[in-house]
Amino acid sequence: MSRFSRMIHPKDDTQQWKGRYYPYDLVKELFIAIGVITLLALLLTILFSSPDDKPSTIAQWSQQKAVDFTTAAVKELDGTSPTAEYGPPYNHNGSGQEAWIIKPQKWLGVSHPINTEQDFVVGPLETIPNDPALTAALAQYKAAPEKQKKEWAEAYAKPLEETATAEEEKKTPPNTVSESNGTVVVKTSANAGPVPLMMASLLALAKSGGVDGSLLTSKQFFQTDYTKPLLFMADGGLLSERAEQQHLLGDQWGMMNETGSYPGQAWLWLYALWYQVEPFKASENADILVMMIMGVLSIAFICIPFIPVVNRIPRWIPIYKLIWKEHYRETGSA
């Protein structure tokens, strides 16, 4: 057999142990292990407790960052927010991520349909009773052709987006957006139709907690699905601002971390690692590429006994001599 063949198919000459045994109490060992691990968990609990930072709400977001909320809301209206353009499984407005000809996001289709215009803006506004001006504005908006709706929303969104971009680039923002008495005032250069009134009403509803409730409302009384409010909030800046303070952003090793100084999901380190390096760091398809790499590595991990070289490394690097030090010393054949 050639050296290469031996590497591919290493001889397994492991034999059943016919040597000595020593008395050992496995059940006692298990109970001792349970005791030790319980004590360790108790000690860590007493010393460090566990994190429980309160969740954010849309009400908090709109109260603390009214301009950011309004910017996100109008982008939901004109279909330019991350959720609006996401594609499957939420809508058909994007093709989703792909790797070469592999497009599972597209293949699996829309399973949790979200129309950001209707679900995040128009729907919640329709729950506000006894407001003739808003009712008229909504009627005007809904009766308008799609092109007109888009022009109104973009006219209102433009100053807000310019302000957000300037703040992101740490430049002086144009003097077109301001906050006054809890409302957001936007100076538009084109006719925004009913959109300013709609946005002001949505901001007021959000501050009262009404949007939190309306995004959970479905045909059922009990609610357990937070997809809509979470996606709406993720389109804004409050969650990411809190996350950055807690070192949770993607370029800060993302979700393997946890609020505070807790270890978090440290076992995801390899998954998070790929997002820190090129070409994944800047790729629009980073998620599918990283997931595919981790899928291949996971299969390889399971198949280690069959992978040439990898299954021989333990033989070549004699860490086993440390593990079985006592055995080799007793048998005198290390």
């Binding site: 492991t14 034999q15 059943q16 142990w17 016919k18 040597g19 000595r20 045994y21 020593y22 008395p23 050992y24 496995l26 059940v27 060992e29 298990l30 030790v36 691990i37 319980t38 360790l40 968990a41 860590l44 609990t45 460090f48 566990s50 429980d52 930072d53 309160k54 969740p55 954010s56 499984p89 991520q97 599972p104 996001q105 699996l108 289709g109 399973s111 357990t224 699905d225 997809t227 909030m233 969650l239 996350a243 807690q246 979700m255 609020t259 807790y262 999901q265 076992w267 995801l268 998620d287 997931m291 399971i302 198949c303 280690i304 069959f306 333990p314 593990i323 079985w324 006592e326 054949s333």
Partner: protein, 238 residues
């Protein structure tokens, strides 16, 4: 229910070999007789601290399931509202951290022993799958916490899962779905896998050291010192 009743005071008839129950019992006993299932002795080469990490993984899992069961009994909001609830949540969280730590050390130890040798590939495979299934088990716990961590991790994790189509049926922003996966489906999978892993370890025994054929203990005749009762051919722990 079709067995013929025996008269009191008479010896029972032999087992009905057509009985499925008897067949399953006899196959089980043959594959894993009691002295092999729970041996009271270990081969002398099982003498390193690294062997503790297998049983420590099982102990951590027991702590996780016990603390998780208490949290489940009281419902998902309890640990936010009471200090005793937060206490049990902390034990649960640190149990998970310990579980992954000892399991990773266990896996590394088994890798450097090449513990798949001697027909033990299924032992390695089940162990590796346990680790891979434990990851989403923990993730569903993190997104079921109903706090800021849950919000952030869910909104981040969705992109990876959606990109490969998993998001279509495994929606991390749906608390109800994630809670079900976390407290029932995935823990059951982990427990079943751990059970299979332990039974395979018991069946095949702990992998012997390298180059054992050069030593007298491995002579064809088993002429070494006698094993303790119930230890013959039944090497020990994971």
């Amino acid at each position: 229910m079709s067995a013929t009743p025996t008269t009191p005071g008479t010896a029972p008839a032999g087992p009905d070999m057509h009985s499925w129950t008897v067949k399953v019992r006899e196959a089980g006993v043959e594959a894993l007789p009691p002295e092999k299932l729970l041996p009271d002795g270990q081969p002398t080469y099982v003498a390193s601290w690294i062997y503790m990490f297998g049983v420590a993984s099982i102990a951590s899992l027991i702590v996780i399931i016990t603390s998780g069961s208490i949290l489940a009994l009281k419902g998902p909001a309890w640990w936010h509202d009471t200090s005793i609830g937060h206490f049990f949540n902390s034990i649960h969280m640190w149990g998970v951290e310990l579980f992954f730590f000892v399991m990773v050390v266990h896996l590394w130890g088994k890798y450097w022993m090449a513990a798949w040798r001697g027909g033990r590939t299924r032992v390695w495979i089940t162990g590796a799958i346990i680790f891979l299934v434990a990851v989403p088990t923990a993730l569903t716990g993190y997104v079921s916490q109903q706090n800021f961590d849950a919000q952030w991790i869910a909104t981040q994790a969705k992109d990876g899962l959606n990109s490969v189509g998993v998001g279509a049926f495994f929606n991390v922003t749906n608390f109800g779905q994630m809670y079900s996966w976390h407290i029932l489906l995935l823990p059951v999978a982990v427990v079943l896998l751990v059970s299979a892993h332990v039974l395979l370890v018991r069946t095949h025994g702990v992998v012997p050291p390298f180059e054992l054929e050069k030593r007298p203990e491995f002579a064809a005749a088993a002429d070494g010192a006698p094993a303790p009762d119930g230890a013959a051919g039944a090497e020990g722990q994971s």
